[in-house]
Symmetry: C2
Subunit: 233 residues, 2 copies
DNA sequence: AACTATACTCTGATATATCAGATATCATAT
DNA sequence: ATATGATATCTGATATATCAGAGTATAGTT
């Protein structure tokens, strides 16, 4: 037993999804996809009978989504789809650039050797995928790269904020577009961020991360504009 | 009726506090004040009997606090005080500087004339208080100043993030310190931020706001260090 | 003494019931 | 015809009941 990788045969209880989680995802999707309109009144009982469950998990989901900014609850009135729920992709990415570059700065100071090693390993893997041109797998490792840096700050608040942003981003993408392939280009930027963290250079890490996300932002917006243009012609 | 200020005699339903809100505040305080330890298991039924209410509002409060990062819920295990709930004041302020400076940038673009006028009026009021040296009142207007800028972005996500940060900040302050007087010095910085927004200069507004918050951060940390020093000697 | 199986208990997850504010309807009075 | 009051209904807020997983203690077997 001792030589085996013990992590292999464990189960993470966090993978269990409660009804509440399912409801959260369903409503979030509903909002982002346009199934629910801005300002629409979401009724606990109505949703509960639609979904065939009781109101309790709905209630809890409301509180989560409210905290995320997707819903607004007015006491004794009800819960409504936030008027500004459809924050522009641009602002979401600006926010991400802002918070995540701060993470990179903190990571350059706080990341321990073990984490640094893992990050290095990841960069090597990404290099391989980059050379192979396997952008599907690269994409997945990319988000692991970002997550590692975020987690190394050991700052729950930032983890939560970025987690929320990612959720929304993800929901958006479903209907939006897949310029993700673009990100293959980002490989060199990732490597640079890693180097800055390794050198324990917070300013540089922050700046590089910011530039990286802002550049992908511009690309995403450009791609979206192009799509929009195609639709017109 | 027409000449009267109609806003005067309205009631904002949002001022009604539900049990859930009270529970949120109570638990947040409990965590920040150290009444609850990190990692402590918070039990719905226990809290409900302690507080003399049912478990439903407790449940909802849990979900809000979880989303804020104060609590962690493990499915089928329970809800626990986040191990890293006590994020340092420094990181909270770094985060605030980061997000709120982005708000200032957006405000310089998105703020409408009406809001701009209100901001200008506020700056004049603040100037008066500054000259009078009424730092109590100035403090209140200061936070209104920040709030106006945040709201003008019409970005719920940022509003929520900064709302959360403020809550936590507030809870911290209770046990922490009142270097708030310091902020009287910040008046000129506020005016500068306002000018940049008025000039529709996003870069400058962002930079000035960032500098402003980072400076107050340094002052707060210095004051805390001083306090710490006093305690030692 | 050690191991196992069963019962008991704790607790979160979910469902249901109750209460109270908000809104709409309608009738009645002026 | 309009204003006021009574009533019904919708819905969120809260309370309570039920269910099921997880842990623990206990008793029985070898």
């Amino acid at each position: 037993m001792s030589e085996r990788n013990e992590k292999f045969f464990t189960v993470d209880p966090k993978l269990v999804k409660s009804l509440r989680e399912l409801v959260v995802e369903k409503i979030r999707e509903g909002i982002v996809s346009g199934y629910f309109e801005e300002g629409e009144h979401l009724k606990e009982r109505e949703l509960s009978s639609m979904m065939g469950i009781s109101t309790t998990p709905i209630k809890e989901a409301f509180r989560i989504l409210e905290n995320e900014g997707m819903l607004v609850t007015v006491p004794r009135k009800g819960t409504f789809v936030s008027e500004y729920a459809s924050t522009s992709i641009e602002e979401i990415l600006l926010l991400r650039a802002s918070v995540e570059s701060l993470c990179a700065r903190l990571a350059a100071v706080k990341m321990n050797d073990e984490e640094l090693q893992e990050l290095e390993k990841l960069v090597l893997i990404m290099e391989g995928l980059h050379k192979k041109g396997d952008s599907e797998a690269l994409l997945e490792q990319n988000s692991r790269f970002h997550q590692l840096i975020i987690d190394s700050t050991r700052n729950v608040m930032m983890q939560n904020i970025l987690g929320n942003l990612r959720n929304i981003d993800k929901a958006f993408r479903k209907r939006a577009l897949k310029v993700e392939v673009e990100r293959e280009k980002g490989f060199h930027e990732h490597r640079a961020v890693f180097e800055a963290i390794k050198q324990r250079n917070p300013e540089q890490a922050e700046q590089l991360m910011k530039d990286h996300i802002l550049r992908t932002k511009d690309n995403i917006l450009a791609a979206e504009a192009r799509l929009e243009g195609d639709r017109q012609s």
